[in-house]
Symmetry: C2
Subunit: 487 residues, 2 copies
């Protein structure tokens, strides 16, 4: 079968927002808490504290995001939830009242669409919460609940809140706070499908799917895709699958996955031995051991060979997410690692996803630290912000950076270069991860572009052109721990 993925995603710059931590609106409408007592915005995040970010705040930051070059907002869960990260869904049809409720979301969606920005929501369809109506009814009524087959109960009475007793129902990774739906129950399946359809009808532009690999019910994700695409064929469906995702990327399920297979080698390459193992070892990706350029080239080529090109172009590439530490922290504060990673991210095929705050140098160890309050402007790392904006602008200006082919040109020691080519446009990206400058020599005959010599459009490097009896050789002398773009 031929695979079709949404065209807009191939060109998109996503911005992942953890809503409790991005912005508090100055002009919220009808908040339920008039004088809220939030956890201090700048204090280290806690597992249970709320900092009070809301969607009114996001609306007020749309100018900022658009100026940065963002065109798609991807929110971690926004539905009513009894947890600051909102993965404990309490009601799939209500936007959390702290965030401003359905009213604020409707305003946000309108405001975003008026700016040609898209909005993707996080769909948590594997599990719910203890307060979720259909589970709570079981908790309250035991075997008398009509919803008893919506979850998997092992024993009565349920032990939902007493940690000294075994959790006698199926919770995600054994967590009794996260009762897992019985997806084999056709009523549950239909209930979840209708949620997916509802929000697509409301106007969202796609679903990011939380732990979709946990749902093993035959045909579940195929039906999900069919019903979502029937309403909006251009809706984006991206799964949280950390490793080999071929099972879900056959064209009948997801348009892409969160591309940790890009994240991990990229971090291992740019940060190398700087990687703080305690910030990565417990996660489902492997940004270690340190990779040399040939190692990196091999990993990237393997990734590019793993899925069809149509899928590659709608993968969701990121350096960090709410589920990982931030690169700047993984690299133990090494700012060059962040800069190099960002360069590789912004020049890779697939949609770019920037985790809120990464663009201003926000630090963050593992959850909950990776979910800090977005810093005040006085705290921003301006250099980080500037190269983010510059690289986003370059990517948006050049289709080859988005949908052009990816071809490794050079991979030796600390030097790595590749070309992105589309039609007559060919762009070369080169990086040096080492502490010494590196000379990368490119046989110009291997490049398809006719306009020579190449011009430096990003970064600093010395270029030297040496003619020969063919097209000649271009040597790029790259300073330590830096990268550049030539076209």
């Amino acid at each position: 079968m031929s695979i079709y993925t949404p065209e807009w995603v191939k060109h998109a710059i996503f911005y992942q927002i953890f809503p409790d931590r991005f912005a508090i609106g100055n002009h919220p409408q009808q908040p339920l808490l008039k004088n809220p007592h939030w956890e201090d915005w700048n204090a280290p995040p806690t597992l249970q504290g709320y900092k009070g970010g809301d969607l009114w705040g996001v609306i007020e930051q749309l100018d900022y995001l658009q100026d940065l070059g963002i065109d798609t907002l991807y929110f971690t869960p926004i539905f009513q939830s009894t947890c600051n990260h909102r993965y404990h869904t309490h009601d799939f049809y209500q936007v959390d009242p702290i965030l401003g409720g359905n009213r604020a979301f409707e305003s946000l969606l309108n405001a975003a669409h008026q700016r040609d920005m898209k909005v993707v929501l996080d769909g948590v369809f594997n599990h719910a919460s203890r307060g979720f109506f259909f589970f709570n009814d079981i908790l309250e009524n035991g075997p008398n609940s009509p919803w008893v087959d919506w979850f998997t109960i092992y024993d009565w009475p349920l032990s939902a809140y007493d940690g000294s007793l075994p959790a006698n129902y199926k919770g995600w990774v054994g967590n009794r706070a996260l009762p897992v739906f019985n997806h084999d129950n056709p009523d549950v399946r239909e209930y979840l499908m209708q949620i997916a359809e509802h929000w697509i009808r409301v106007g969202i532009d796609g679903w990011r799917l939380d732990v979709p690999f946990e749902i093993k019910t035959e045909g579940f994700w195929q039906e999900f895709r069919d019903r979502v695409k029937a309403i909006n064929p251009e809706a984006y469906i991206v799964g949280e699958v950390w490793r080999d995702a071929r099972h879900w990327l056959d064209g009948t399920q997801f348009d892409g996955v969160m591309n940790y297979l890009f994240t991990a080698p990229t971090i291992a390459f740019v940060a190398g031995d700087r990687v703080a193992m305690d910030l990565v070892i417990s996660r489902s990706y492997d940004p270690y051991p340190a990779l040399t350029a040939p190692d990196y080239a091999q990993k990237i080529q393997a990734l590019l060979d793993l899925y069809p090109w149509e899928i590659q172009l709608t993968q969701l590439n990121q350096l960090a997410s709410h589920d990982t530490a931030r690169l700047i922290s993984i690299a133990q504060g090494d700012r060059a690692s962040m800069a190099l990673g960002t360069l590789l991210l912004l020049t890779f095929p697939g949609a770019v996803s920037i985790y809120y705050g990464d663009e201003v140098g926000l630090v963050g160890a593992l959850d909950p630290d990776a979910r800090r309050g977005f810093p005040a402007e006085t705290e921003w790392d301006r250099e980080v912000f500037d190269y983010h904006r510059e690289l986003i602008a370059l990517r948006k200006a050049h289709r080859a950076l988005r949908i052009g082919t990816y071809r490794v040109l050079f991979a030796q020691g600390n030097g790595y270069a590749f070309a992105r080519s589309l039609d007559d446009e060919e762009i070369v990206v080169a990086v040096n991860i080492g502490l010494e400058s590196v000379k990368i020599s490119l046989d110009l005959a291997s490049l398809s572009s006719k306009s020579q010599p190449k011009q430096l459009v990003f970064g600093t490097a010395e270029m030297e052109f040496e003619p020969d009896n063919k097209a000649g050789t271009l040597t790029i002398d790259i300073p330590p721990r830096s990268g550049c773009i030539l076209m």
Copy 2:
């Protein structure tokens, strides 16, 4: 100040529906449970079992109700709840999915209004449930919850489900399943006011207020009335206050209360020593000891003297409710008690409320037994149904029975008679609660009606007219345990 109450209520026949037990729709739309396993409809109700009644079923029974003469539906709670009686509210903005959700309610409201029927909902604003979002967030996040001031917490961690520990937060009558709102919190107050406004805007015709006496926050019910009436000045507000309700019936709060001050003496009069004490002793009304006619006259006169007449006309009079045993059961099966009580109910000033099933002779001891499934037609007591329909029709045909003055004409031994008078219309109601026939003699000079002699329009009785030098005397010979209406 002058008191104004809704005109329509003075003429209304309410029908109180316990939605889980009235009717299951044959044609539900998009139910979430395709093959539900309900508790057997005809089995004795249990505390936690659902029988699956829904609003689609109510819609299908509107012909039946209208034929009976019902013009107002009063529902015990219909909002999403984890309890079959639905007083444990889980979401005040959602009609319970078992009932058909907001969609079914919208259809019901339209169908009812098209028939000039009104709909009154039960508002439970004192407490919520453990799964209720704002409480559940406290349960999940402890002192970190932003909603912590919405309830009254004594100690951490909350012991919400472990009966072996003290319930360390305020629950209604100490019940940890029913966390009590902190009404003194302005945010909570506003939240509840908005719920009241929302459903009035949706189109409901009034609120029945559950345990309103528990809310002692200054001005709460005054604001409630003001905000509800600002949207619909004809909306009915009726409180659940079992005894002296003068505090709430000053014209600034409720239009009426559930008139157990009528219920109790009426049962004590018509059922007398037949009253099964175990079915009444635990309740907040006193349908005992047995009353003679003079006792009853005294109680009724005291009740009529208690509140302004404008309030009397919009009291909600009933013989039973979901909170009491049914009269037929209280009277240990004595059908005459039910007939006599119904006659007195249908001829008393104030709105009439018939508890679903009473009109077909459904029995029921205390909760949960008082909440049985509405019986199949083959099980109906046709005689009971016929006198209900006949008395309702008489009441609707004669304004005097609804808004005419009430004047005791005779009260001796087992005989009791009163007149309802309006303009030129005067209607006499007479009952005999004894086991022997009773002769009630009325001095016709005391009646205002000029059309003499009176005609029997309901019941059986012998009438004898004896002229004298004034208007003469009418003697009504009433068979044992019966009553009649003359006009």
